[in-house]
Every structure is written in C-alpha cells, then in structure tokens.
Symmetry: C2
Subunit: 257 residues, 2 copies
Amino acid sequence: MSGQVGRLAVVGLGPADARWLTPEAASVLEAANALYGYGPYLDRVPMRPGQSRHRTDNREESARAAAALEQAASGANVAVVSGGDPGVFAMAAAVCAEIEAGPPAWRGLDIAIVPGITAMLAVAARVGAPIGHDFCALSLSDNLKPWEVIERRLDAAASAGFVIALYNPASRARPWQLGAAFARLERHLAASTPVVFGRAVGRADEHVEITTLGAARAVAADMATLIIIGSPQTRVLVRPGRMPLVYTPRAAAGANA
Amino acid sequence: MSGQVGRLAVVGLGPADARWLTPEAASVLEAANALYGYGPYLDRVPMRPGQSRHRTDNREESARAAAALEQAASGANVAVVSGGDPGVFAMAAAVCAEIEAGPPAWRGLDIAIVPGITAMLAVAARVGAPIGHDFCALSLSDNLKPWEVIERRLDAAASAGFVIALYNPASRARPWQLGAAFARLERHLAASTPVVFGRAVGRADEHVEITTLGAARAVAADMATLIIIGSPQTRVLVRPGRMPLVYTPRAAAGANA
C-alpha cells in the first residue's frame, strides 16, 4: 500500500483509430500504471513498458470497474478504456455505480472521466448533419430495462419530433428488438423518414447505408452498428456521383425566423 | 477558377483548448487554404502562413456557409470551424442547407464533416456519468422554433425518463426561456432531480455547479452554459472533500437484470 492517493481515469478512445483519440486521452493512457478494458479496445492503445494490462470480457463491466478501483485504491494510476465516449452507454456509469456500492475509501480516489467522440457523432458526420436539431439517444438493449420502457421512449421521442439515435440495436441474444423498434416508430413517422445505418465507422470495414424507415432492414444491424432515424424535418439531399447528404435543419416548421 | 474539385470540411474544435482537438481535426485545419468561422473559434486555430481567415459574427451562419462554399467551388480547400461538434446545433446543418439552396455545382463539392467533442460530453465527463443512460439534447433557442414545440419536447423527454441536455439555455435576447423550461420540467420531475450547470468547460473560467431542479437558478446560465437535467434514475454520490459524482445507472428501475 502506497500513501499516495490513487487515481482512476475512464478514457474514451473514440469509435476507431487514433485519428479521433484526443490529446488528453492519449496523455492519460500514456501516464497510467495499469490499463483495464475489453480486449479489442486495449489493442488500440500503444504498448508501454512497465504498464500492466487487464483484459476483460465485454459483459463484465461491473467486475472490471471494481478491479480497477481496487488497484487505484492501492495508490496506482489506473485507466479504464472505453470505446467512443465513456459517458454514453459505457464504462463511466459502471465505475460510478461500483464506487457507490464499494468501500468508503473508493470515494476518496481521484476520479477523472476523459471524453471521446461517441459513435453517434461519427456516424452523423459521415452523412452530413442528421442530428443537427433536437435529438435523443437510446440503447435498445433490454438486458437492463424492460422492453415497455423502450417502447414508451420511442413513442415519446418520435411523436415530439426528436431525431433518434439507437445504440446497441442488435446482437445474437437480441435479434427481434430492432425490427420491433422500427415497427413502433412507423406509428409516428412516415415510411419515407430517412434512416442511417453506420457500422464500424472509421474502421477498415466501415459500412454506411442511407435508407428509409419503410425500407430499413433490421437484419442489416449488429453490435457495431449505430442507427439514426430522422425527424419529420430531416432531409436527404441527392448529389450526382456522391453519397447523399442527410441533415436536419435548425429551423423547425412554423419557426419564428 | 481551378479545374480541381473544391473541398469543404466543417471541423469540430471541441469545447475548449487543444486537449480535445482530435488529430483528424488538427490535420484538416493545417491543410486548408482558407478558414471560415466565428472569431473566437478561429482564434483557437494556430496561424499558418498562406492560409486566409474569414471571421464572421456568430449569427451569420448562413452567409458564412455560403461564402465558404463559394470559395470551395473555385477549387480551394476550405475549412469552416465550429465549436464542439459541428453536427450538434452548429455549422454542419447550415452548410447542408446552403448546398441545397445553392447552385448545382455545390453538390459536386467534396464535403467532409469532422466530428468533435460536443459540450454535453465535456460537461457530463466533469461530473461523472449523468448521461450514462437514455438521454436527449434540446436547444432552448426559440429563434428557430416556436416555444410550444420546445414545451412539447420537454414534456415528452421528462415524462418518458430521458436525461435532458439543454444547449443555448439563455442569452440577453432570451432571458425567460430557461426559467420557463425548469418550471415545465417540474410538472414531471421531483424537485430533488439532479441538475448540472457546466459553463465554459475546459477553459480557464470553467464553472461547474451541481444542484437540483427545485433549487436551480436560471439566472446562473448564459450562452456558454450547458445544462443537464437528470432522470428519476439519476443519482448524486457524495464524496468527502471531493465534488459529488452525478450518474445515471445503465439499469432502469424494473429491469430484467
């Protein structure tokens, strides 16, 4: 046990390679004694001699957070890596929850959250400005909330005119949810509403598809896909020889200006 | 007129200094022949000989976008700078709208949107993980949409359990909207709901305040403030001698897991 106050940073790597890793994130990762994270995220961090690495499965978020906190409590400088932004459906909330549930000493640790580019921003950037006006972000995972809550949120968001970004749209264990979400949204939105599928954006296997709510195929999505569903104001601007631009104007219908 | 296809990039600088400027954004800014933007944002970009700078007022977004597109159409490599992320209540949608309204040649330009850390992510990171679960982002500016639309969206978001981030909460021309928004939200949310005010996060004059919906003072916000209002699940974790952590757990009440 060192007398030094331990430090734990939860670091957002962004959605892809180093082009979206902020200088702050790079420097916090470089300074850490120990890194914790899901293997594929750790693989994106350059190796440094003397820095230990603790790979965990993607589903073991609570155990990973607790192990990292325990090491920080011994006086170490620990970084927990997260894809995208750590505060958006990722590790920052898991770390906070473990601190609340853990020994009082964990509340004395120096905790830092280092923001990153979340997938929603990267996918939006690829196609124009689909979240250029009021938007919301929902996780479709019902591991952690009842499906009825998800339906209620889809209804509320679509009927009030929000653009909607869906995280965790599908996995092998959750094959039907995205189709059900599209069907639910069709109660409120026209079949012509623009829909963007952005898979692995920024990576070598990036795939972006612009379609409509009526034509969207849920089967095209997996764990690496982020989906954006337009509002009634969202527009698709066709460009000869180029991918269309999808954008939501800042002025709502019936605006003053 | 050059025969080269012009290029226009809309570049997100993040909310503050270079620590949050991505390597991609830095390299696109470095390569540009001409920069367009609101003066204080341009001031954050290192000067490079041979690169022209076009400063415009914050309210002249359409004119700025059109001027930048016109120069790109002459074959130049142009960058429009934006605070935060260009796709979130910022320049990317303005550029798309000008392309749609402009001459057909503008649709042939090479357009790129370069994402950045938006204020909501930076403020959330400062206090923990308040947007750790389903959230939405709304601009309180009613210059571009009727106040009734804003009220309807506040009602929908709060009653469905979204955490809410408010952009553009107040300005000299819009002194009453934030107070009205808080009052509206109190119809749906307890007075004890956590509220975060994050002003100028990442800058020397940064100020972050954690309060409650019942105690929140609208007068504390200005154009540089981003506000996060928790959901009924959002928790405040008190830490002796440290700022509290505010977080929204990934598991909703009544979840399966």
